[in-house]
């Protein structure tokens, strides 16, 4: 059984093959990927939304490697105890079901927590604590005494061939885009009372919005100085660092502007996108054994031999991470968000 927190599975590649793959991916400026994609190009995927009539919102995505996921979102009305209008991250509940794993195995728990973090942590920072509607939990408030509780059930339909986080995150994004809640008929602080006509139900997230969208989490790897998106299994195996980067659309452009004015890292991020979290899934040192003296450690012993793969050591450079963030906040994140919106237009 693979280690739950690690994205890399045992690659059936020889040291020479791994070294070849690493060298071609690390070519300065122009990495050559095994399937001929450009570094920011995603594999084709097929998606559909609104597939489960019994849910508030649902989506299915199939990746090119054949892995598929289905997400169903169900909403319930619940009484608010604290009387707050800001919302609580416990109102969103995510469960991830992966064939061959129990619910309480490390991988499903880790994945669901990572996705819940992106969803629930949206407006936890100081700039949006004024009851903003940007985040998901702000949208779930009905009034002072009532709120929606959202159950997001994620089903992976096939064995995880590569690290399933991007698939699950993109499917959840689509499902949330297609989620509708019944139209509220009661006003103010009354007990909630809804219109029973599903036709007039309102979208949880507004359509074609340039200001708000559910978050997405992308898997990004760095090989040498290169940043590579949507890595396949072999690319993950030789990557230096594997990171999960979560972004969403931001309502307030001012904060991004002020950052730019401060000359923050000289980045020119798209002001419409906001970085939510960066998480290291795998550090470069993941393949080196801990607690082994250098003299006896096979990965630190002899000097490099050309053409033979050696596990990486050490960490990842700040400049690489900054570059990664810039790319995600730039055109790549925007392209992915727009592409996914395209799927949900017809529903």
């Amino acid at each position: 059984m693979q280690k739950a927190s690690s994205a890399s599975q045992t690659p059936h590649l020889s040291p020479a093959e791994l070294s070849y793959l690493y060298t071609s991916l690390a070519l300065p400026g122009a990495p050559i990927r095994p399937d001929g994609r450009s570094p920011t190009q995603f594999r084709p995927l097929c998606a559909e939304t609104g597939i489960l009539p019994g849910t508030n919102g649902s989506a299915r995505i199939g990746f090119a490697d054949g892995t598929q996921a289905i997400v169903g979102v169900k909403a319930e009305v619940e009484r608010t105890d604290s009387g707050e209008l800001s919302g609580s991250s416990s109102w969103v509940q995510i469960s991830v079901e992966i064939p061959g794993f129990r619910d309480d195995d490390a991988l499903p728990v880790f994945l669901s927590e990572m996705m819940r973090e992106a969803l629930g942590g949206v407006d936890s920072d100081t700039e949006t604590d004024t009851g903003s509607e940007t985040g998901l939990k702000g949208r779930l408030v009905i009034n002072r005494r009532w709120h929606w509780r959202l159950y997001i059930d994620v089903l992976l339909l096939s064995q995880p061939l590569s690290y399933p986080l991007p698939l699950l995150s993109l499917t959840t994004h689509l499902a949330l885009l297609s989620t509708k809640l019944p139209k509220l008929k009661s006003q103010g602080e009354e007990d909630p009372f809804f219109d029973d006509d599903w036709e007039v139900a309102q979208n949880l997230y507004p359509r074609h919005s340039t200001t708000v969208a559910p978050p997405i989490t992308l898997l990004v790897v760095s090989v040498g100085e290169n940043i590579i998106f949507d890595p396949n299994r072999e690319e993950i195996a030789v990557a230096d660092a594997v990171m999960a980067v979560s972004v969403t659309r931001s309502e307030k452009n001012s904060s991004a502007k002020s950052n730019a004015e401060e000359g923050n890292l000289a980045l020119k991020p798209n002001p419409k996108l906001k970085l939510l979290s960066i998480r290291t899934i795998d550090p470069p040192s993941r393949l080196t054994q801990p607690g082994v003296p250098d003299a006896e450690n096979a990965t630190t012993g002899d000097e490099e031999v050309a053409g033979v793969w050696r596990p990486r050591r050490g960490g990842v450079k700040r400049a690489v991470v900054a570059n990664m963030v810039q790319l995600v906040l730039g055109e790549v994140g925007e392209e992915v968000l727009q592409g996914l919106e395209g799927f949900s237009v017809h529903t």
């Binding site: 489960l52 199939g62 289905i70 064939p99 059930d153 089903l155």
Partner: protein
């Protein structure tokens, strides 16, 4: 839940969803839905929808029952049933592992397909079936049997015939002996969830008998059906059992034709329809 099946049915002879006693719900199915598995299928019986994937026959994973070496006599069938949280009307809370209903379905499916498939062809290997219930509206076991059959056909695992499942019930509680002169209760075919909760029902799975001896060469115009699975959770007077079984077996025959159509229809891309005939 007070539903009106038992009060309105005798008056209208129509069930809650407007069907007559012998009508199946709309059955739609697809095979080869998931390219990452050996075989896969999607099946919807009314509002019950199920996705099924099959992996194998392949070498069993180490550390599982059979010690990785598997069974020398034949393949081991493993079934894993997952009823999604959003499958029913109210979201179901699950604590840890799997619930009782899904493990019962898994055990029944495992027993049914272990003896149904020609497992002796694949010694030391495992055929693992994964069933995901996307939407549950009654007849879960029957729908799961049909979905598994389709996925196993898609995976190309040899079997003597299609194993088809169907439910049958009675339109009343049927707890007293049947009165042949004043027969008030009708048998019902393919129960939906409200009916299943209220009325006694059974699930029957049938397959065609393996042709042996002289009959082997006969054209199978009148195939004899063999019951290979029978499951009943309700209490019913034994005098009704024969009727229910007969209706269930008849339903299986209808489902069998639909499934055969699905399997033949899915070949269109490879072999044009005109060439088959």
């Amino acid at each position: 839940m007070p539903l009106d099946t038992s009060t309105t049915y005798p008056l209208t002879r129509l069930r809650l969803d407007g069907r007559r006693w012998n009508e199946l719900r709309l059955l739609q199915a697809q095979i080869s839905t998931n390219p990452a598995s050996s075989g896969s299928s999607y099946l919807a019986m009314g509002n019950t929808s199920i996705m099924c994937t099959v992996h194998g026959p392949a070498e069993g994973r180490r550390g599982e029952a059979g010690g990785g070496a598997g069974n020398a006599a034949g393949a081991v069938v493993e079934v894993d049933v997952n009823i999604a949280g959003f499958a029913s009307v109210d979201r179901k809370r699950r604590g840890g592992g799997s619930d009782k209903q899904s493990s019962r379905i898994a055990t029944t499916l495992k027993a049914a397909f272990q003896s149904h498939l020609h497992t002796y062809l694949y010694p030391h290997s495992t055929i693992s079936i994964h069933v995901s219930v996307l939407s549950a509206d009654g007849s879960l076991l029957a729908a799961a049997i049909n979905a598994c059959t389709l996925a196993l056909v898609d995976a190309g695992i040899p079997m003597p015939g299609l194993l088809c499942g169907c439910t049958a019930g009675m339109s009343g509680s049927a707890s007293t002996a049947r009165d042949p002169k004043n027969d008030e209760l009708d048998p019902l075919l393919d129960l939906s969830l409200p009916e299943e909760q209220e009325l006694p029902s059974l699930t029957v799975g049938t397959t065609t008998a393996i042709p042996v001896g002289e009959d082997a060469m006969d054209d199978d115009e009148d195939e004899t059906m063999k019951v290979s699975l029978l499951n009943m959770d309700a209490k019913v007077h034994y005098t009704y059992l024969e009727t229910m079984l007969a209706v269930g077996i008849d339903g299986c025959t209808q489902i069998r034709e639909i499934l055969e159509g699905v399997i033949k229809g899915s070949n269109k891309i490879v072999v044009p329809r005109s060439d088959i005939l």
